[in-house]
């Protein structure tokens, strides 16, 4: 099992009446009413500190993602953060998991170049995630017509991979990007940087992942129960497609906090968990997918299967949830080391996930508490997770030099 630390760079001090005063945490809240640029500078540095701390404490990877116009987590330029982390972790073997630069909100070639730079700076440690971008980001913040989201993503993906692999300059005649001579400098150190594709359960994404031999990630804050159908669907699809059941073909994102004991964990983290779900995720339901963001078959499935109605019910429920409800409903995994270990092993096996991402900094959680959670996790839980999948499967979706600890090469040698 590979386990990565995920922080989202949130606003940590939203006012108590935020969700009553503002329609949404995403797209609409005015920066100048709610944030101070100097304080925000502090947030970025706290976030970087937490990432570095997680890497040094022994996490296998650090995950970064891109979001715009929001107080949930505002890392509009994840490669800026990744660049700093790549440099600071050069003596370690931590994968830089980009989950990542969003394909519809960047000029695709720029992603190819920046990922290649990060791979170069880190000595070949990048995981090249290629998310389309959330509907709030791609469609609202960046104005991409929702119905074009997938098509633009697929085209950008093809261009990026070709730009990395092509030995000679080539012309690219896409629908959305047209270029006379593609010839990017630099190129990634890794011959084929592993590609992870985040999805939300569309069969068309499973097909796309299978066809391209990538890793599929379900990025959600709603825990195993909401994920089970999606991952079951993914594995059933892969079976039909004729792929093996290598658990590293799948990634999952889980909210997780650890304390000395179940009780102390609750005492220290309850208000931050509630802040996260009520305030950081204060998003009007319809924002998650403007019409066209889902392709028609997915939309039809969502409406007819009752998932839409279930989501509506669930989202309404969260507003009244307390810490214990989140735990009992398996939305978060929280508690002392034994509890967290058992729950994570259970989750990984039931979802059949080899690449686990843990969101361990949430909303208002201060840096010291985050680091404490990281330390207990890496010392008491992580060692017991590593062997979950035995040595039956190889993680082809992990940077090669980070796959086995003894095989570490220094950056100097890698770059020599």
């Amino acid at each position: 099992m590979k386990v990565s630390f995920f922080g989202v760079m949130p606003h940590r001090e939203l006012p108590d009446d935020f969700e009553r005063r503002y329609k949404s945490v995403w797209v609409d809240p005015p920066f100048t009413e709610l944030a101070d640029p100097v304080r925000v500078g502090q947030y970025y540095n706290w976030t970087l500190d937490e990432y570095v701390h997680a890497a040094k404490a022994g996490f296998d990877g650090v995950c970064l993602n891109e979001h715009h116009q929001n107080a949930y987590g505002f890392m509009p330029g994840p490669t800026l953060m990744a660049s700093a982390l790549a440099r600071e972790t050069n003596h370690l073997n931590t994968a830089i998991v980009m989950l990542g630069s969003t394909l519809t909100t960047n000029f695709p070639l720029r992603i190819a170049e920046e990922y290649a730079m990060i791979d170069a700076i880190s000595g070949g440690r990048i995981v090249a995630g290629m998310p389309p971008g959330s509907s709030m980001d791609a469609n609202q913040a960046y104005g991409v017509p929702p119905i074009e989201t997938r098509e633009r993503s697929a085209e950008a993906h093809d261009l990026i991979l070709r730009a990395w692999e092509s030995k000679k300059p080539f012309a690219f005649n896409g629908k959305y990007t047209k270029l006379p001579k593609v010839n990017i400098w630099p190129r990634p150190i890794q011959k084929k940087p592993p590609v992870w594709i985040p999805g939300a359960g569309s069969a068309s994404t499973w097909e796309y992942v299978a066809r391209n031999k990538h890793c599929y990630c379900f990025v959600s804050f709603f825990g195993r129960k909401m994920a089970q159908n999606v991952l079951d669907g993914y594995w059933a699809f892969n079976d039909q497609y004729g792929l093996d059941r290598n658990p590293y073909r799948a990634g999952f994102n889980q909210v997780c906090v650890v304390g000395e004991t179940d009780e102390s964990c609750e005492r220290e983290n309850a208000k931050h968990i509630e802040y996260f779900y009520k305030r950081s995720l204060h998003v009007p339901e319809h924002y998650w997918a403007l019409p066209g963001y889902q392709d028609y078959p997915s939309l039809e499935k969502t409406v007819r299967s009752g998932v839409l109605a279930k989501m509506t019910e669930k989202l309404a429920q969260f507003k009244t949830y307390k810490y214990k409800d989140f735990v009992n409903d398996e939305m978060i995994i929280a508690g002392g080391p034994e509890t967290v270990r058992d729950r994570l092993i259970d989750l990984s096996k039931r979802l059949r996930v080899g690449n686990l991402m843990l969101v361990m900094q949430l909303g208002s959680m201060p840096p010291e508490l985050t680091k404490k959670s990281i330390d207990i996790f890496t010392s008491k839980v992580l060692p017991q997770l590593r062997g979950v999948w035995g040595d039956e499967w190889e993680n082809h979706w992990w940077p090669e030099r980070c796959r086995d600890k003894p095989a570490v090469k220094s950056v100097e040698r890698a770059n020599a």
């Binding site: 469609n139 104005g143 074009e148 409406v303």
Partner: protein, 265 residues
């Protein structure tokens, strides 16, 4: 008021790859009706027109049953305008009067500007297509049902009959799917800003033009009527009191009467 029977036909366009359904009803001079972003509904307004004319109402690409991917075949605004020229040819209608509502009005105006001789008369009912920084058009695609209802309708009672409610996924899944996908397809050409440069081409419209507007239109406020009126040489405005953007539902008799009087018999 007895409903006019309408029939369906399916056209085969764009190298037989786009096959829109067309509702046809009534007798008399041909009128082509282009619907708004929410999809086509044969309602009282079209009924009233069909009492005087032959109404051809094609569905926007992507919104006919089984045709959801057709929208992918039209890449840009140029494609769409050429597509509609092909559609009008294929309908076999000469000297048509074009009537377009909202997004349909934006397309109708563009057809009349691209090929002025193909349009005998033009009726634009609360058309989209222009943009004013002092009166931005609200981004309807990012709204929930309640918010949409607020900007589309003046009359809340009428709104209740036409808008879907939060539990529509359970009670009316087919309607919810159709409406959502219709918005998605129109969104390809209207998101994030419903302006594809029509202002620069308005001067080419030579057909006598009637603008029909609700005086309480909150989506495309009546100030836009003035821009269309000053941009189209041979145009006049019929402002209907107590109507919002969904004027063809809210004040269908008044709107239809204005259109029929303008087209003549």
């Amino acid at each position: 008021m007895s409903a006019v029977t309408h029939r369906e036909r399916t056209l085969s366009l764009w190298g037989k790859k786009i096959n829109p359904r067309v509702f046809v009803g009534g007798e008399g001079r041909p009128v082509i009706f282009l619907h708004g972003a929410g999809g086509l509904l044969w309602d009282d307004f079209l009924d009233a027109l069909a009492k005087n004319f032959t109404v051809h109402a094609p569905e926007f690409p992507g919104t006919s049953p089984g045709e959801y991917d057709a929208i992918k075949l039209l890449d840009d605004w140029h494609d769409l305008v050429v597509y509609y020229a092909e559609l009008i040819d294929e309908l076999g209608v000469k000297n048509a009067t074009l009537v377009g509502h909202s997004f349909g009005g934006m397309i109708a105006a563009e057809i009349a500007a691209a090929n002025p001789r193909s349009v005998e008369k033009l009726v634009l009912v609360a058309p989209l297509g222009l943009w004013r920084d002092d009166t931005p058009i609200p981004p309807w695609l990012s709204m929930n049902g309640e918010e949409m209802s607020e900007v589309f309708f003046h009359d809340k009672e009428v709104a209740k009959r036409f808008m879907l409610s939060p539990d529509s996924a359970v009670t009316h899944p087919d309607l919810l799917l159709a409406a959502t996908w219709a918005l998605a397809c129109a969104g390809k050409f209207t998101w994030p800003i419903p302006d594809r440069g029509l202002r620069d081409r308005l001067h080419r419209i030579s057909a006598p033009t009637l603008l029909v507007w609700g005086d309480s239109d909150k989506l495309v406020p009546p100030i836009y009527a003035e821009d269309f009126k000053s941009g189209i040489a041979n145009s006049r405005l019929s402002l209907v009191p107590g109507a919002g953007h969904a004027i063809i539902h809210e004040k269908h008799s008044e709107a239809a009467r204005a259109v029929c009087d303008f087209i003549g018999t």
